[in-house]
């Protein structure tokens, strides 16, 4: 189990880095899809099977389709070899920001007191368990989600209108 987690985590990290450093946006998007899969695998290892399935359906199967659509069809030309060189200042500031973030994360991690792991309740992460808390304890957020989705629909129409008129 530990080995599987380490492999998945390593692939997740590497693909995450590749998303950022790829010049070709299509490749970036494909690495991001790989990244979503590894994260789904990690959810599965944590016994959250429902969330793992949702991760694949929503992120890999829906959101990335939209991303890929936009990237592929907005006529983004592939940059010529060595066409756009990054400035030295860009590189230095990027590295500095990443370094500061890493230091903050490490600092926070050293401050946390990790207690002994809790006993897992039977049925943890199953669809029934998720459903039960979603439709009883988190009723209001659930209903508000529908309003959020409604806003997204209206937003999409208005954006498209602005382009068409």
């Amino acid at each position: 189990m530990q080995v599987l987690f380490l492999i998945l985590a390593a692939v997740a990290l590497i693909s995450g880095v590749l998303v950022v450093i790829q010049v070709n946006p299509v490749r970036s998007a494909l690495y991001l899809i790989l990244n979503f899969f590894t994260v789904a695998g990690i959810y599965l290892l944590a016994h959250a099977e429902f969330i793992a399935a949702i991760q694949v359906i929503v992120y890999a199967g829906a959101i990335m389709v939209l991303f890929l659509f936009v990237i592929m069809l907005l006529n983004l030309r592939q940059p010529e070899e060595g066409g756009e060189k990054q400035h030295l200042a860009q590189k230095i500031s990027g590295a500095a920001l990443a370094g500061v973030t890493a230091l903050l994360v490490i600092y926070t991690c050293t401050r946390i007191n990790l207690g002994p792991a809790k006993e897992m309740v039977p049925g943890f992460g199953s669809t029934e368990a998720v459903a039960r808390s979603l439709f009883t304890d988190y009723l209001l957020p659930f209903e508000v989600t529908s309003v959020l989705l409604l806003v997204a629909l209206i937003g999409a129409v208005i954006l498209a209108r602005a382009r068409l008129d």
């Binding site: 069809l73 029934e128 009723l139 209903e143 529908s146 989705l149 997204a152 129409v157």
Partner: protein
């Protein structure tokens, strides 16, 4: 529970291997020739004018965005369907409100003509 996912992993590895094997076999077996005309994109014998990668109609993106919204709605319905019986009337009203709000969205999109395709 995790052991029940092991066959899926094995199945995935075997089917990836199979797909790679088939592509590699046909790559190795067939002969290859290139001529200037054959290398052109196929356009029913016409000489292609300009690149294929144009900008395409915004409708395609709009449909994908609608899909995103309704896909998420469907995702909420799965866990609800599973525990529908124990939830009872309370659950039905709850989901009725949720579906109603999204039906309003569908009606809006419909009324605005965003689903028309001419």
């Amino acid at each position: 529970m995790l052991i029940s996912y092991l066959p899926i992993l094995v199945y995935l590895i075997i089917s990836i291997g199979l797909a790679v094997l088939i592509v590699a076999l046909s790559e190795a077996l067939g002969k290859k020739t290139h001529t200037a005309v054959k290398d052109l994109p196929y356009e029913c014998g016409m000489v292609p004018i300009s690149d294929a990668r144009h900008r395409y109609a915004v409708k395609f993106y709009v449909i994908t965005m609608f899909f995103l919204v309704f896909d998420i709605e469907a995702i909420f319905l799965y866990p609800w369907g599973v525990i529908f019986k124990p939830l009872g009337l309370f659950g039905l009203i709850e989901m009725g409100v949720f579906i109603l709000i999204l039906m309003v969205g569908l009606a809006y999109v419909w009324g605005k003509g965003a689903l028309e395709w001419e």
